[in-house]
Amino acid sequence: MSKARRDSDSAGSASTPPADIVRVNFEFRRELARKVEGNLAGFCYQCGACVGDCPSATYGGGFNPREIMLKVLYGLGEELLTEDSILWQCTNCYNCHERCPQDVKPVEVIISLKNMLSDLGIYPDNVDKVIKAFEETGRTTPVNPAVQRQRERFGLPPLPPVPVDEIRQLIEPDNAEPRAGARADADKGGTE
């Protein structure tokens, strides 16, 4: 970016704006702010305290919580909300939450972004599998006869079924909540 800016500056052509100028997408930011704690990136001053202890930044190739917060500030949703989103490299270790001097809670902003991915119906298969198991049984670990036999061996009572009907009522989207930007088929992708 800096090289391109220098080139255009030195060319001295004031008539055409630099091609890499960033226009903030406020609609994306407004939609993110509707998620629980999705508005916190607004406090980010790009100090980078979140990066040093981030396992995915240390061991991965390209995951950087500060850059993700910067993209959120610019509203670059199209770079974050992709089929192969880098957001899924987050280990959810909460080091960034611990380190941030501004209480941005980068991990929570990342999870809010994942909520937007869910609205779009873009989900890794293994994530979807666990969510479906929860929505169908109220548990994320399957209970089967082998599990119940194991429990019996340890003198433990069988695991009772979870009142799934109550869970379903709780996770139905509120009609009152605006879900702007969500595609019409988004909910079908994530539920049932």
Partner: protein
């Protein structure tokens, strides 16, 4: 007797019942009465379901908390993930707007969240309610000479302002719990690393586990002790996977703290389900043959024939 509502979650009761057995065996010996919660669901998990919809996640978590509120008891968890969800829910629902939103959903099933039940991780329950001395006094097989590497995991400690468990930069609770068993805790250089289970790529957790297990090997620890069932999986089958991938000999048996406590309290090795682990803590067997303190009712020398 101190009474607490037990929130067992999913992973321990449905995949690691030996851990649940150990909890139910050990806590009463420390003066803690376990009260079962009827109708509890998944916490829900702070990785997968939370990433779908935080408000739904909060609503289900709040429902679980209301089950303990009905009993007028504080709630304790045996899994760091469940603790993360329930503690964060308790924290976030101090916000009146959010609490109103959640209670509107709960009203559909005739419930109201009132924030009257505190959330405690089982490690802090033992530390703060029973005390380390009670642990020490409950031990009939002091694990003298056992070198125990400790893996804290992430969600027990962080975010510290919400979890309120220990200093995330220099925690002591696990070291003290291990010391109370007569064993020697070992802090390896990469003690603070994450287990990587929640990361949806393979390369990041594999490389991280490789570094972590390397420093555990340097310390020549007998076992690797942890407090989270998700971490346990990473250090059991995950350790085998990383060993193969890097063609290196990683071999430290992982063990959930309360199974170690149960063993130290006299439960026979063969009753603790270790045969299901990839890496078996056979090193513990030497304490079974050690002389027992005289007159101890927990003496169990005649047992242990159903070995796997």
């Amino acid at each position: 007797m101190n009474r607490f509502a037990f929130f067992p979650g999913c992973l321990i009761p449905a995949r690691h019942p030996a851990m649940e057995f150990a909890i139910r065996h050990t806590l009463p010996k420390l003066g803690i009465e376990i009260v079962d919660l009827e109708g509890a669901s998944c916490c829900p998990d702070p990785i997968y379901f939370k990433s779908k919809d935080k408000l739904s996640w909060l609503s289900v978590a709040a429902r679980n908390l209301t089950l303990a509120e009905d009993l007028g008891l504080d709630i304790f968890t045996n899994c760091s993930g469940c603790t993360a969800t329930l503690s964060e829910t308790y924290h976030l629902l101090e916000d009146e707007t959010l609490r109103a939103q959640v209670n509107e959903r709960l009203s559909k099933i005739g419930r109201t969240y009132q924030a009257t039940s505190r959330v405690r991780h089982i490690a802090t329950l033992v530390r703060d309610v029973a005390g380390y001395d009670a642990v020490r006094e409950s031990v009939v097989r002091p694990l003298e000479g056992l070198k125990v590497a400790i893996h804290y995991g992430c969600h027990l400690l962080k975010p510290s302002r919400i979890m309120q468990v220990d200093d995330p930069n220099n925690p002591t609770v696990m070291e003290n719990l291990v010391t109370a068993l007569g064993a020697t805790p070992v802090r390896h250089r990469n003690w603070y690393l994450c287990c990587g289970k929640a990361c949806q790529t393979e390369q990041v957790p594999d490389d991280m586990m490789h570094d972590l297990l390397g420093t555990v090997n340097e310390e020549e620890a007998d076992i690797l002790c942890m407090i989270c069932p998700t971490c346990f999986g990473q250090f059991d089958h995950g350790q085998m996977k990383v060993s193969r991938k890097f063609d290196e000999d990683f071999h430290t048996p992982p063990i959930y703290y309360f199974q170690l406590l149960a063993f130290a309290q006299g439960v026979p090795y063969d009753k603790l389900g270790f045969e299901r682990q990839r890496f078996k803590p056979e090193c513990l067997r030497r304490f079974e043959t050690a002389p027992q303190p005289a007159g101890d009712p927990a003496h169990t020398g005649a047992q242990g024939k159903n070995s796997a």
